[in-house]
Symmetry: C2
Subunit: 308 residues, 2 copies
């Protein structure tokens, strides 16, 4: 994975690891926060997007890349493509917030709108790929994307050796499976846990039943974590993630508030979920050295203001 | 000043310096943000408080320290004293917000309330010093406090050499005069500028007239910058600060919003004033390497939510 990190290093920030005496005291553990909210475009997704694009041949790059996403991966792919001077085609549901469309355009991405359902998204993407010859990069269910996302944990383990646990939020599982691979390779004694909203508990259900259970009707403010696992992320999570901790919505909001009030940082709800897990299960982390991946910081400040 | 930094190092955080491509683009300059909002207890005031206490003799320390402040210096002195195991007596106006009193108590400070006027504050402080034998530490008009505050700029200049300008907010002038001394000693070519709210423009008035003009009726949300300069901070500012940039209230709020939205950090209004100055006077900073001291992050999130 070090090869991956070296490959993407010119395109990403090495984000800082912050600590907070108050949160250590509240949790009874030593917490190390990997601040991917400070990553370029505001989330870890830059890592996977950059790695996937950099693996393409010169010929493939010329034709560009395409994906379907209304979230951080859309911006990450657009910005990575812009840095390399190649086109990025982003399929977005027509009801995506204008601010998200503006962000993708701001990074030079070309938006192709579709009806807001899975069938329209997939057929529109197929048409775009057919028309342009662009390479489809899946937001998380892709080996290169997974390896890229894992570099956040790799940097964390390098900066803070001997972590007992790393906790990552889980949506589609790109960050979580990458984190698990990073720990396996660099620090096999470090356990990897997932934090997941109780209102989008497919990873928890999947781990319990030993097979992928899709997420049907997610209900959570953590909009990055509403996705189902993929067939490439699931086996890694099944085999290398020790446990999934479920957290309630009020616990996510409280974690968000603590991160702003005590650590003075802005984190998106999905990013606050790992801290919520630590504060929920203090017995499990007591006395331990715990890495927490704060996955991103792209929030609508008005929405956050309303939550608090 | 390196001696000062070495003295206080065990008691403070070495805060990170962050950059932001978007804000560089908006300002036309290369901006380097010294994040004292991540300092212990949330503001640079820890540096000066720790330095002042550490200069006391063993005998003096036993009797403790005292100050009058309802802001960050009250918390900084209480926490510094707690770390050294000595008493801290904090004179606070009886109408101080409960949350500020709770913070001082949380750091082990003993609060002595007084009527909310200058005469009561000074007489109450005199009584406390008389009764306890504690040493009075002024929040900013004190050589050791000034030198301590300057260590933020010292670290910044060490991490980012060849800055053309450093901009610090100015209230009583402790941070600004310390910054000027740090630059003078370490990087004489670096200019030091002040950023000040137009509604509390005593530093600007003082520079213009060449003598201290007291701040009579400050009107600004930047509550840390409502104070008048002192007779120890003023001569340093007069001689070593090149200019004072005035900013309007709306510009402070906009800077605050950009820091949250683009840099994902929480900064108090006083801390956002230096960024507001850069964005106001883009011609002056065009193409320059500019250090910005984000002085603190202790905000009432509800108040911030209302502002945005």
């Amino acid at each position: 994975m070090l090869t991956v990190l070296k490959r993407i290093q010119p395109y990403i920030h090495r984000t800082p690891v912050l600590t907070c005496a108050t949160l250590d005291q509240m949790s009874g553990a030593s917490l190390f926060f990997k601040c991917e909210n400070f990553q370029k475009m505001g989330a870890f997704k830059m890592r996977g997007a950059a790695n996937a694009i950099l693996q393409l041949t010169e010929e493939e790059r010329k034709l560009g890349v395409a994906t379907h996403s209304s979230g951080n991966f859309a911006q990450a792919l657009a910005l990575s493509a812009q840095m390399l001077g190649i086109p990025a085609y982003i399929v977005m549901p027509s009801n995506s917030p204008e601010v998200k469309k503006a962000a993708v355009r701001g990074y030079g991405g070309e938006i192709i709108e579709c009806e807001p359902n899975l069938a329209a998204r997939e057929s529109t993407l197929a048409q775009v790929v057919e028309r342009t010859g662009a390479t489809f990069i899946h937001p998380f269910n892709d080996g290169n994307v997974i390896m890229g996302q894992g570099t956040a944990a790799l940097e964390l383990l390098h900066d803070v050796p001997n972590l007992d646990v790393i906790i990552s939020p889980v949506g589609g599982g790109g960050l979580l499976s990458g984190t698990a691979l990073a720990a396996k390779e660099t620090s096999p004694k470090t356990k990897v846990w997932a934090a997941e909203p109780a209102g989008a508990s497919d990873a928890w259900e999947s781990k319990k039943s030993g097979k992928i259970i899709p997420q049907l009707n997610p209900q959570t403010i953590a909009d990055g974590l509403r996705t189902s696992l993929g067939d490439k992320t699931w086996p890694i999570i099944r085999d290398h993630v020790e446990r999934v901790v479920l957290v309630e919505e009020a616990e996510i909001v409280e974690a968000l508030r603590l991160l702003m009030e005590r650590m003075k940082i802005v984190v998106e709800p999905s990013g606050a979920v790992a801290l919520a897990a630590v504060l929920k299960d203090k017995t499990a982390v007591a006395g331990k050295r715990v890495g927490i991946i704060l996955s991103g910081g792209n929030v609508d400040l008005k929405a956050i203001a309303a939550l608090l």
